[in-house]
């Protein structure tokens, strides 16, 4: 069953067509990867899906509901949460506070709760703290909860951003190059974490350059090149597809990658 459907999605910047008539489905509960050379339009595609920018043409349907052109916070409220290629943490805050902010949609305390702390608000704060601590343990940052987020290594900042996104309890999580800046060992751990996210019932759509990670982790791969979808299939099918080999190794790539 499809949880996300992208239909004829197109985005133009002046004369440049960054995403060109892209159509695909993301199966619920599975891990789908979008791959392609630099400049293939992957991040633009994520921006269109998550509401960060409106498409020029086409539709995005999430869980049977059209979300084309909705604001990012409205998309998040429906259960679709993203991370960023260039990590965007709340760097003045601690690691734990970052994840607590992720729980925003699942708590309700406002000014009254902040000032007077009635019983239900204290209860809620405890639940938020517990959920945040559990997620930090899940991504392996449990020991670093009280450090400033800005002090983490780049790879750990990515894991923190992922924990923060999970705190919003998304039904579909969009991961923009989660393995960038990770070493081989960290990348292998990340692969296991992503599989556990999917096993927990959250559908994963990710953009990735790290082919080892994609081949080991994804159930389904969508290949983009020059904004167009080249092919879609299992990692095995995609690896042996002549168009994909051309996109990655062919003369076209040289001079634009």
């Amino acid at each position: 069953m499809s949880i996300l459907r992208v239909e004829g999605l197109t985005r133009r910047f002046g004369g440049l067509v960054a995403v060109n008539d892209v159509t695909f489905d993301v199966a619920a509960g599975r891990i789908t990867a979008v791959i392609g050379p630099n400049g293939a339009g992957k991040t633009t595609l994520f921006n269109l899906i998550s509401g960060a920018m409106p498409p020029s043409e086409g539709r995005v349907v999430f869980d049977g509901r059209e979300i084309t052109g909705l604001a990012p916070e409205a998309v998040a409220r429906l259960g679709l949460v993203r991370t960023f290629q260039l990590v965007k943490l709340f760097s003045d805050l601690t690691v734990l506070e970052n994840v607590k902010i992720g729980t925003h949609l699942h708590a309700r305390g406002g000014l009254f709760a902040a000032l007077l702390r009635p019983g239900w608000a204290r209860e809620e704060e405890r639940a938020v703290a517990k959920a945040a601590a559990d997620l930090l343990d899940f991504v392996g940052l449990g020991d670093l909860a009280d450090l400033p987020a800005a002090g983490l290594s780049y790879g750990r900042q990515r894991l923190l951003e992922m924990a923060r996104a999970l705190a919003a309890r998304p039904r579909l999580i969009l991961l923009d190059e989660p393995a960038a800046g990770l070493n081989a060992e960290e990348s292998a751990r990340l692969s296991a974490i992503i599989r556990r996210i999917a096993a927990g019932g959250t559908t994963v759509l990710l953009i990735e350059h790290d082919m080892t990670l994609v081949m080991n982790t994804a159930d389904e791969v969508v290949v983009l090149d020059f904004g167009r979808k080249v092919t879609q299939g299992t990692p095995h099918e995609v690896r042996n597809n002549p168009d994909v080999i051309a996109a990655y190794l062919g003369g076209v790539e040289i001079g634009h990658g």
């Binding site: 998550s50 960060a52 604001a71 990012p72 916070e73 998040a76 409220r77 949460v81 993203r82 960023f84 965007k88 943490l89 709340f90 760097s91 003045d92 805050l93 601690t94 506070e97 607590k100 902010i101 992720g102 925003h104 949609l105 708590a107 309700r108 305390g109 406002g110 000014l111 709760a113 902040a114 000032l115 702390r117 608000a121 809620e124 704060e125 938020v128 400033p148 923060r164 996104a165 705190a167 919003a168």
Partner: protein, 306 residues
């Protein structure tokens, strides 16, 4: 433990003023009124990282509401003060809703304009504000027959109000509301991706800061007994910014520390006579060089937050 240093310093200073009374009590009283104003400013500029040059407008609304309602209509100070605070929050809602969509310099310009417009209104609307003449004979704080007239009595009331304001700021900081403010400050894009309605929380911080500004503006007229347009002029904006940065923007103790230091520095340099302003300026520059994140951040390795 070191984190307690700013609080001990502030408590010592205010305690001394309470014992000494007289001129020192007056100076510290004004510092505390400013502290209330800066606590509000800090919610908007520190917690939420937005800029407003127009908070004096809300202080003016609070102050003039108190002045006009008590002298012309014979209201009690407390309901007059409450009315002023509500009026300022309402004005902030009307003004903030369109302007908070503006970013950076545009928001700053819009808020500056609000301050200037309010100043002009207090000057020109003579039938109500009596223009430059100002309004005198404003009753002191109190309830019914019980009024606070002594310097020390006023100081005690102000200490209680500042303590409550700081308590509110500390609680907001450790709450879901405060986290949303800090998220907006950290990255609007990331905040929105997590479902935080950025425009709504900017507005909330703006309304809160307007409420504190109006409270401070109203306290001032009841303590002094007089109000004129100059009280809420542009110098108020400059002074409150200085206090916020000297004390420590985004911290809980910062507004109080900044308000006390910036109010007392000129007094400390009184002996310099003609060079008083020069010494004050040099001291401010040194503070900003050696404590760029504010005095209240000097004594901690890392802000402890829950």
């Amino acid at each position: 433990m070191l984190g307690a240093v700013p609080w001990v310093f502030a408590a010592g200073l205010v305690g001394y003023a309470l014992v000494a009374g007289g001129y020192m009590a007056t100076v510290v009283s004004f510092a505390l009124i400013y502290a209330v104003f800066v606590v509000g400013l800090n919610l908007f500029m520190g917690f939420t990282a937005q800029v407003s040059f127009g908070q004096n407008a809300f202080a003016a609304i609070g102050g003039y509401s108190s002045a006009v309602l008590t002298t012309m209509f014979g209201w009690e100070p407390l309901p007059a003060m409450l009315t002023g605070v509500c009026g300022a929050v309402l004005a902030a809602l009307v003004v903030g809703y369109p302007t908070l969509r503006l970013k950076g310099h545009y928001l700053a310009m819009a808020t500056l304009a609000i301050g200037l417009i309010t100043y002009e209104i207090t000057v020109e609307w003579q039938s109500v504000t009596q223009g430059y003449m100002g309004i005198s004979g404003i009753p002191p704080l109190g309830l019914g027959k019980w009024t606070v007239t002594s310097d020390r009595g006023q100081l005690v009331v102000l200490i209680a109000i500042v303590a409550l304001s700081l308590f509110a700021a500390a609680r907001i900081r450790a709450s879901r509301l405060g986290r949303a403010f800090f998220a907006v400050a950290g990255s609007e894009e990331a905040a929105r991706a997590l479902g935080i309605d950025v425009a709504r929380y900017k507005l909330a911080a703006f309304l809160l800061s307007a409420g504190f500004a109006a409270l401070a503006g109203s306290l001032f007229v009841h303590v002094v007994g007089f109000v004129s347009p100059e009280v809420y002029g542009l110098h108020m904006v400059i002074l409150s910014f200085t206090m916020l940065y000297v004390g420590g923007i985004g911290t809980v103790a910062g507004p109080l520390i900044g308000a006390l230091i910036v109010s007392l520095l000129p007094e400390a340099f009184r002996g310099f006579k003609d060079y008083q302003d020069l010494a004050y300026g040099v001291a401010l520059i040194l503070l900003l060089i050696y404590a760029p994140r504010g005095l209240s951040t000097l004594f901690r390795r890392r802000e402890a937050r829950s």
